[in-house]
């Protein structure tokens, strides 16, 4: 056994040697002997880094002990400190056995990985913290006789602590405040009171089991011997006085602490009861359902829903036609192979399809035809002409009523036609020797072929219930008689009185109305080579064409404002060479021609004035109110054509100047309202709105050659506002909510199942005819 070498901590002058120098002395001494007596004087880091090499290293500390006694102590080293020690005894100890025969202060065994520290008193704060345990080595151990300070065993990763509670500095709490925070391994034996502030998430308190108790009792005698207190063995061997704190493994921790109270439990136990057990806003909104729904919903939870609004709105053709002829339906009947029904339907509306629709009318129906979005509008003229040979419709049963119609122009004719079809006797009283009013008397045959016209008149006259009296000039007395004899009287005399202007020479000027009538008669008038027409509207153009036909070579139309002529009439006149001049104000007319306000002469042998016609109303009783407009009198009517006299109606130009088509429309409307009156039914005017073009889906149609037959046109028709049974909605619906239902009267409808529909709007986006609409829900 080697000799004990003493290393003094004070130098020859009694001055403290620095820790650095002292350590050098210690290491030098250690090279000579493994048994050292260190008379320290507060030097730090003493007793470590002494590698044993098989020999026992025995260090005795005698003197005021500095900090970090046994720091980095190695296995095989035994250190005994004769008195109390300072901070951090056993700091980074990797195997030394250190005995402190007294108290130690803070940080004992901090970062210790192996070895034993035996303390014969109490220790300060943060003992046994951040210890390590390498499983190939022994666990580090700290034995304390008394109590430990705050924050004991923080981050203890595997060390074992024994706190005996003898002569404790704080008997009421021998483990200090908040021990074992973050402790993940190891265990603490303790004997005495504690304040329960140990970290419940890291450790739990248990009674030592047999193996653990045995471990403690096996080592207790050695510990007590080391600190020189062997007589305490019996006192410290009472099993029931000892408890343990052991670290909770992560898996167990997960099971023990599933987090704070689940929200559902909170809701049930604390939240709902606070409001008397019900919804806190049940008084403000009784019965309000606030339960969860998703982003996509069906049924009542949709924010909009689809409607199959078939025939809810009018197609443009039906809407804009003054007679509201539903060409869209006509073409549908063709598509369905019901050609005859299609003709029947047309003749329901007008007796003159070939003449008016087919020739004379500017076809207002087609001006907004939706097919223009794809290629060309439907050729309704062709459709009209094809109806020339259509069969006569059958009239209804006789109602036993009769109506007098004064005037056999298109207005009066359609009124008669409708009444006759409805079972009422229609008696027309016409001044001229032929039916048709201006259509027959005035419009040039170039624009309305005679053959077609004759055929239609023949068909008209073959309708039962219609009687025509030609050559009747109406007077006040005759009118009164008619009013007595007939159930109702309709005035349809049109405008056959030309307007004139009383400038000098006006008596040399021929009114257009007279000229055209004469031109169409058996004895047409002669015209000069140069012709001037005052008034450049469409009638003026008709006049120009007739003038050319009758021998004129140079026709000039003059007007005080921009000419209102348009369309076919204007084109026809210009094609023949007619010219337009404006603004021209007539000062006078002489045999030379027309002299304007500037004194200029437009040479002409024939001057014709075409500035419109007004009604001749001398026969009208006083009971019928008239309106004075533009210097003339017009009959005042309501929308049904009824005048201020309940037995008298007025239709056509006499009420409001317009196209022949307008006259036809007025005649129909008035006749229907009279029929309804006879039958005791309510009459409704055409009140549908036109379908907006944006509702249609034109992309379904591809541009095509414009049809030359009714069947081809029927294929091109876009069926605005009327379902064409294409099944596209059924196909596109993503949830198969749409299906087709057959109805009792053999018709059908499409329906959307509210339980399946998610209100995506695809049906509405897809429908070519604009039937499906989405409305807010």
């Amino acid at each position: 056994m080697s000799k004990v070498i003493v290393v003094k901590g004070l130098d020859a002058n009694g001055q403290r040697i620095s820790s650095k120098n002292y350590e050098e002395l210690v290491q030098k001494a250690f090279a000579k002997s493994t048994r050292l007596k260190l008379e320290t004087y507060g030097q730090h880091n003493v007793g470590g880094r002494l590698k044993s090499n098989g020999k026992k290293v025995e260090i005795e500390i005698n003197g005021p002990c500095g900090q970090r006694l046994g720091c980095m102590g190695m296995p095989g080293t035994t250190i005994v400190c004769d008195g109390p020690a300072s901070d951090d005894v056993g700091y980074l100890n990797i195997g030394a056995e250190i005995t402190v025969k007294g108290d130690a202060t803070n940080g004992v065994c901090n970062a210790m990985a192996e070895g034993k520290v035996y303390v014969g008193g109490s220790i300060g704060a943060r003992g046994l913290t951040m210890t390590k345990w390498n499983p190939e080595h022994q666990r580090p151990e700290l034995w304390v006789l008394g109590s430990v300070g705050d924050t004991f065993a923080e981050f203890n990763c595997g060390g074992i602590g024994v706190v005996c509670g003898i002569e404790a500095k704080n008997p009421k709490n021998i483990l200090g405040y908040r021990p074992c925070v973050g402790m993940v391994g190891g265990w603490i034996f303790y004997r005495g009171k504690n304040d329960g502030s140990y970290d419940k998430k890291s450790v739990m308190a248990i009674l030592p089991n047999d193996a653990q108790w045995q471990w403690l009792m096996e080592r207790m005698p050695l510990y007590l011997k080391k600190i020189g207190r062997t007589r305490l063995l019996k006192k410290l061997s009472v099993r029931k006085e000892w408890m343990m704190l052991i670290s909770i493994p992560p898996q167990d921790r997960a099971l023990m602490f599933s987090g704070p109270m689940p929200m559902a439990e909170f809701k049930r136990k604390i939240w709902d009861p606070a409001f008397g057990g019900g919804d806190p806003i049940r008084d403000l909104a009784p019965g309000l359902d606030r339960s969860s729904i998703g982003m996509i919903e069906t049924g009542d939870l949709r924010r909009r829903q689809p409607f199959w609004a078939n025939r809810d709105k009018a197609a443009p053709c039906a809407y804009y036609c003054p007679v509201h002829i539903p060409t869209v339906d006509r073409l549908r009947l063709f598509r369905e192979g019901k050609g005859d029904e299609a003709y029947e339907m047309l003749l329901d509306y007008t007796p003159l399809p070939a003449s008016v629709c087919g020739h004379v009318c500017p076809n207002l129906c087609m001006q907004n035809c939706s097919r223009q979005l794809v290629d060309e509008k439907i050729d309704v003229q062709m459709l009209g002409r094809a109806a020339r040979d259509a069969k006569l419709p059958k009239p209804a049963k006789q109602l036993g009523k009769k109506v007098a119609i004064i005037g056999g122009g298109p207005a009066g004719m359609n009124a008669a036609w409708q009444l006759a079809k409805g079972g009422v006797e229609a008696h027309i009283f016409e001044r001229d020797q032929q039916l048709g009013g201006k259509l027959a008397q005035v419009i040039p045959w170039e624009r309305l072929p005679k053959a077609i016209w004759d055929k239609e008149i023949k068909r008209f006259l073959s309708m039962p219930n219609i009687t025509v009296n030609f050559g009747v000039t109406m007077t006040k007395d005759k009118f009164a008689e008619l009013k007595k004899k007939y159930d109702h009287v309709i005035v349809a005399v049109g405008t056959h009185q030309p307007r004139t202007i009383p400038f000098p020479g006006h008596d040399m000027v021929i009114p257009a109305l007279d000229f055209l009538k004469s031109a169409k008669s058996a004895k047409p008038p002669k015209v000069g080579k140069q012709v001037v027409i005052i008034g450049a509207g469409n009638v003026g153009c008709d006049v120009a064409c007739e003038a050319y036909r009758l021998g004129a070579q140079e026709v000039t139309l003059v007007d005080i404002q921009k000419p209102l002529a348009f369309g076919k009439e204007k084109a026809a006149a210009e094609e023949l060479g007619a010219t337009f001049k404006w603004p021209v104000q007539t000062k006078e007319v002489t045999s030379e021609g027309l002299i304007d306000a500037a004194g200029q002469l437009i040479p002409a042998q024939t001057v014709i004035i075409s500035i419109g016609d007004v009604p001749a109303l001398k026969f009208l009783p006083d009971t019928v109110e008239v309106l004075s407009v533009g210097g003339a009198s017009w009959i005042k009517c309501n929308t049904a054509g009824l005048t201020s006299d309940p037995k008298i109606s007025a239709v056509g130009d006499v009420e409001r100047p317009g196209l022949a088509t307008n006259a036809l429309g007025a005649g129909k409307k008035t006749a229907e309202s009279i029929l309804a009156g006879f039958k005791g039914e309510e009459w409704h005017d055409f009140d549908l709105q036109v379908i907006p073009q944006s509702s249609l889906t034109a992309a379904h149609y591809t541009p095509d050659s414009c049809g030359s037959s009714e069947a081809e046109e029927a294929d091109r028709c876009m069926s605005c506002g009327t379902c064409r049974d294409c099944h596209l909605c059924e196909t596109i619906c993503p949830t198969q909510a749409i299906s087709r239902e057959k109805l009792e009267d053999k018709s059908y409808r499409y329906v959307s199942d509210p339980d399946k529909c998610i209100a995506c709007g695809f049906c509405s986006d897809t429908c070519p005819c604009g039937i499906w609409v989405m409305r807010p829900f």
Partner: protein
Amino acid sequence: MVTVRSIPNTPSSLTTNDLPWIIEHNQDRCTLCGRCAAVCPVGTLKLAYMRKRMPHLVLSSTERGSAYKTFVGIRQSTEVSKRCIGCGSCALVCPNEAIHPIHNSIRDRFRFLNTQQGEPAKRGGRRNEPGASLLDRIIFDRISMLTDPALDAGRHEFSCNTLLGRVLPPDEYVRRKLAGEWIPPVREIFPFVIGSMSFGALSPNMWLGLLQGVAYCNEVLGIPVVMATGEGGCPPWVLRSPFLKYIILQIASGYFGWDEIIRAIPEMQCDPAAIEIKYGQGAKPGDGGLLMWFKVSKLIARLRGVPEGVDLPSPPVHQTLYSIEESVMKMIQTMSMAWDFRVPVYPKISGSTSAKSVLNNLVRNPYAAALMIDGIDGGTGAAYNVSMDATGHPIAANVRECYLDLCAQGKQNEIPIFAAGGVGKNGNVTQNGMALIMLGASGVHMGKYIMQAAAGCLGTETNRCNVCNIGLCPKGITSQNPKLYRRLDPDQVAQRVVETFMSIRTEIKKVMAPLGRSQSLPIGMSDALGIDDKDVAERLNIRYVC
């Protein structure tokens, strides 16, 4: 003459590329399930039919004319009233990730046409100022490592609550206590408060979900969170519940719901946390609350004491108050008296260069419990664009000025300042809040952050969604339509509120610990703040660091 085929042109015509949000639709992945069109809150998505013309152009063939092919795809409307708002509900419901909106800030022309019918542009939501805010850029740079003991945010105990109420100087407190005189009520609350968002601006599911989360934080977790009601009143059952102590009742120029509150006072189980008198809102100074008719449902009308379906634009000022002194005197005393001086009463004002004057008046008034300043970056359910964007005052300088003024008078510990306006708008809620606290605020209110964190609000600073004002909120947060707000589960909102506050609490510790503070909130600890902008540092009287 405009014919059927004409393509009309109007001043308000827009193409897809002119819209603020452009829908990107991937036709290859689209399965035409219809969900996007069904869920779109503004109805901009439709199934479009398009036709492709393929002319026969092969020279060697005699076939001429064109073949046509029809195809379908989801398209968006270019009508001003139906423009895409970028909410992304379509992306949320699409099963195939085939559709989503893309922001188009560069070429957006809608911003010039958002004045249809003479009405200036309005929106809900936020100020639309993207990028890091000033508060985001403030860092905590005075780190304690060795000088003060560094603290362990995870393990050490922290006291991070704050005080709402008039704190007497110690000697005065002792004197009054001994003399049995009135001590102003003070509440210990969590320094992050759920700011005023009214029952009306928010849906019932959202408002009650927030309260449920607040109650949970208090009762289960012991975090003393409080929530302010906003202008719309408080449901009678809630007033009579034990949760009233977690609620700050707001009284504003509209006085909505106060008849119910007064009626309930004798039956209250506990006192409210505080009374907030709203004089202004940071988001839209010059306007009071703006609740439009479509959000005044039967339920809201009943609570507010107004007819259903009427617009409720509250006046910007209280109708009978014309000076600071008068406001302070009349309102604070009245509100204090209503609860026998047991409840702290404080005013809320818009940030302004004149905030100091208000504060100085409050200091002289013995009943004023705090001053709440709402900065320009605050959000709102409805505001005119120009108000939201351009009127107001940023919060940082306002708070700092006011606090330093208090310091100069030695009163900084007595009358707390609460701050709001963009706290957490970019997600950095604790950082923003702690920055304001260290500039001198005793606590902060947050609004937008809670909407985002607790309910998944879709809005962003690039003007995404932001249709709170017209009640179309696709998440059901700010709509009164049950078909929308039932999409929001109050229990899930409550859960998220709890998670948010747990996280904020941990983050507060993470900020306090390195600064060496654990026993009290570091109010006014501006020596710990730094910013990399010299001018800002000078203005805010903090350190310039780079």
